[in-house]
Structures are given as structure tokens and as C-alpha cells.
């Protein structure tokens, strides 16, 4: 397990990252989920807040600091 964590830390050396695909958004490194609704999702990061707006949002994967959302993404705002 120690080895796995070391490799993961080496590969994911950033505090956070946001990957946007055509119908999915992958967010890593958030601190808290503020809102998770069908048309809106917002996450609290260390220095800012991310607000994603769209349609038919569905959570595919959710862990303590990582989320994968499927749906049509229309707008992203950093607050």
C-alpha cells in the first residue's frame, strides 16, 4: 500500500486538477462538495470555489476529494 501511495503522489503531484470532456467532468483535489444537483454542482477548493452549470448531471464516481460527473456542461465559474 505504501508503494501504491508513493506512486500515486508522484503521478498526482498537483493540489487539484479539473478535466473536462464532452459529456463528463473530472474534478480532483476539492475540499468540500457544496452543491450537487441535476443542473448545478459546486465545489470548495483551498483558494477558490468552482461552480459548474449544465443539464442532466449524474455522479458516476465520488470519493473524499475526487468526483466524476456525467452530463451536458454549459458553464464553469471560478469564484
Amino acid at each position: 500500500m505504501h508503494l501504491y501511495k508513493t506512486i500515486k503522489n508522484f503521478l498526482l503531484d498537483k493540489d487539484y486538477f479539473i478535466n473536462i470532456f464532452e459529456t463528463q467532468i473530472h474534478i480532483y483535489g476539492f475540499l468540500e462538495v457544496l452543491c450537487l444537483q441535476e443542473e448545478e454542482a459546486s465545489f470548495q477548493f483551498e483558494n477558490f470555489m468552482l461552480q459548474v452549470k449544465g443539464q442532466n448531471f449524474r455522479v458516476l464516481k465520488l470519493t473524499r476529494n475526487e468526483v466524476l460527473i456525467q452530463g451536458k456542461i454549459k458553464e464553469m465559474t471560478f469564484l
Binding site: R58, V59, K61, T63
Partner: protein, 386 residues
Amino acid sequence: MMKNYCLVEIDCMNQERFLKSCQTIGIDIYHMEYQNEKWIITIQEEDIPKLKRIFYIHYKVIGYKGIRQIRKNIQKNKIFLVCVLLSLCVLYFLSHLILSVEVIHSSKEIRTLILNELEERQIAKYHFKKSFKELEQIKEEIIKKNPTIIEWMEIENVGMKVKVRVEERKLQKETNPKEACHVIAKKEGIIKSLSYSKGEALVSRNDFVKKGDILISGIIHKEEEEKNVVCATGSVQAEVWYKVSLSYPMNYEENKRTGKKRKNIKIQNNRINSFLFKSRIQTYEEENQFLFEIFDTKIYLTTQYEIIKEKKTYTEEEALKRLDSMIEEKFSTMLQEKEKILSKKVLKKEENNGIMNVEVFVSVLEDISMTQEFQRIKGDEDGDAF
């Protein structure tokens, strides 16, 4: 270590609240989908007790992933898996078992000797097969043990059978060379060719000789004086005559196919033939196509052709042809290499109750030489007394 994952069905009205709760409690959701108005989530097995803390949901574990699921599948299909394992074991066992040992040689003594030698070395019926290396070693051991009997041998595994090919060692018997001998005629005839390596020829081409006449003499003369005595060797080809009496029926039966045919499966075990289906044709000819062999039993696909036996009579031409072939057949066993039939002549021919009786005069080119020893009488100057 491999983690165990569970599929959990969640009945919850507020998805956002549930997801936030999961985040707060520390439940990682690895997959999530909406089915029949319920959420199906994939979480770690150790996180299931944590779900009790979310009081506003109803949950039900509906399946597993990982080692637990593999174990469950094995448990579910254990009879099938045991059967597969057992059949593999049986297959392995059968493919390494000897059901028969076949020694290919005409001599019964050699066959028995080889079978006993092989049995001593655990190559016998209902024993396990040996590897190629072991077979080579056994082969060498047997050859070394019987150097005067076995020239060469080969052991091979063919299916469930062990085939052994043996070549017998033929030792040439030491023969005492004859001191003095003539080559004489064993039959009467007209000399056609003569060849000799030792001795003195007393006859020439087209000479008529009687049985017992000296053809090649063992006494060598020089200017009418006896010089040396040897064992005459040579061969003399002469035309000899035979009178042959033959009788054969003028009527014969010929099989004619009617065109009707049936397919069947033929099972041959130890030369005993049996058919899988009852044969509906009474008289038939069959053509066999080999399919496969199992446990010394051969399986053939047989086509049975219905036949009718037709009675026929030979014409004179056919009868003469048959006569020729009968004479050829009769002499073929008797004649050796370079010997042949020169001519045939029918002496007498009569038909009696459908049977033809024929007397034939046959002239044959044949080796008539035969070695005969003789002893010299002391004091006899001519030295040809024997």
C-alpha cells in the same frame, strides 16, 4: 491485497444530500447509476456499516465484486468444476496408460522374448507409458542383452498402444567348403545358357542332357591329363518340359450391383465385425471408410451395395485366357528369378458336365544345375569315380 467491492441499492429521495453525507462520513463511491428509481452504487465492503449512519436512506446489498464474488461463483459451480477437474484427471490417466503392446515380427520366439523383456521393464498392459528418453534407454538395454538375436528395434507410443518393430540378427553359418564336387542336371532338357566360375564345362548350348548328367566337372584337365580337383560352381539354364492337367468349371457366378445402397457403421474389434444398424440388404458388397480407432476398436463408415449373382458361361476365348492365367499362377510359385514359361500347347481338351478338362504341354526355361560331391578313389588315375 485485493479489495472487496459491494453493489448496494439505495432508496433515497435526495441524491445531493446522500452524496454530501457519503463525503462527510468518508464513503468512497466507485460507480453510481440510476436504475428503476433507485441508485446502484459500488462501494468497499468495509464501508457498508457506515451506511447505517445515514438514517434517511434504505439500502440493500445486491451483489459483490472481487475475491468474494469469485469465491461465490466457485461455490455456485462447484459440481461443474469438480466434474471438469475429474474428467481432466481421467483424460490424463487414460492418455498415459498402455492398453496393448504389439511386437511386429514374424517369429513367435522373438515376439515372446521382446514381450518378456518389456514386461520386466514395466512396459505391459495396464502400465503407464514411458517417456521417449526411457524408451530409448530400454531399447538399448534389450539390444545389449540380446546381441546375437536382435539387430535393430524401435519402440513407439501410438495412442494407447506400444508398437515395437524388431529386426532379427541373421548370423551366417560357417560352412565347410566342399573339396570336390560336380554340377549335375536335376532334370532332362536342352541347355540354353551356361555360366560357371569354377570347374570345367562338359556341355554346351543346345545339348540335350538327361537327369544326373555332369554339366560342369570338378576335375580340371590339361591336355588329357588331370591337373586339379575343385568344387565346380555355376548355373545352367535349360528348356525343360511339363505336362499339366487342369480342370475348371465353364459356368461361373458374377456379382452385379443393382444400384440400391445403404450406409451403416461398422465396428471392428479383434477382427470381429458388427454393425450398428440392422442391415436391410441380404446380399451385398461393402466399401469401408475408416473413421477412428478407440480402445483397439476400429470404426468404419460402410456403404453396402446390393448385388445379384448372375450365372455366366465362359466363351472359348475367355476359357483359353483363364487357362493361361491358371498355368501362369501354377508356375509362378515354382519358378525363380530369370526362369520363365517359353511356350504352351494344348494337347487334349474335353468338356464333361460343364467342367473343362485340359492337358497342356508347357515348355519352361529353368535352372537345372545341382551340386553333387564326389570322392576320389586312390590309385584311380582318371579320378572321375564317385
